[in-house]
Symmetry: C2
Subunit: 107 residues, 2 copies
Amino acid sequence: MRVMSQDVFKALADESRRHLLDKLRERDGRSLNELCVELDMSRQAVSKHLAILEAANLVVTLARGRTKYHYLNPIPLQDIIDRWIAPYRQHQTTALMALKRELEKKT
Amino acid sequence: MRVMSQDVFKALADESRRHLLDKLRERDGRSLNELCVELDMSRQAVSKHLAILEAANLVVTLARGRTKYHYLNPIPLQDIIDRWIAPYRQHQTTALMALKRELEKKT
DNA sequence: ATTATATGCAACCATATGGTTGCATGTAAA
DNA sequence: TTTACATGCAACCATATGGTTGCATATAAT
């Protein structure tokens, strides 16, 4: 299963899903029903959100009997740093900064 | 103008907007028309995307005469690291890893 | 003054998204 | 073997999203 960067960004773009990630960061290995307590919506809605997080590989699951346990996976976030965040750190000394200095001179 | 983390994530969730950011990282200070060359859609569509990036503060603009120049702003991405990415680096040694070890023992 | 250029605004449209409800399925407990 | 519990599946719905087209406005060039 190949996870596209697209999937990770879309997964992170929703407030409820970020909230789920936060809750799992507090304590993961929780079941769907346990996680439902944290969100003010139906179980099915939470289930959909978890499926999206799982498709993005931000959450991995383990089914044991009739319950499914959810675990955080930090790898995709690390990939996003490497691909997206780190390169932008190079940008501290480029046109924007030159522009700011230019504007500050004039005021 | 307060920028919500929500705005940044939503802005990053679209492929066309990430492509625009990439193009601006190559060379920023470009006008709307110059950026239109990079995307296969109408000028108005590109304009909307740039407005969303600007609302997320990922792009700042400077109007001079009839043209508007677009510059990258790396600050929101740094904020995302601090709020979202860095905390998850702590998670290398938690339940997920214990689970993996457990599974590897059994196979 | 007229024309061309760069962008903005608004209405419209198809599809995606995030939620609901109802029912089905599989597993544990009595 | 019933009964209860945890989750999955599917249809449906309202709103958000990403695109279009047409027109308006402001500035630069002739």
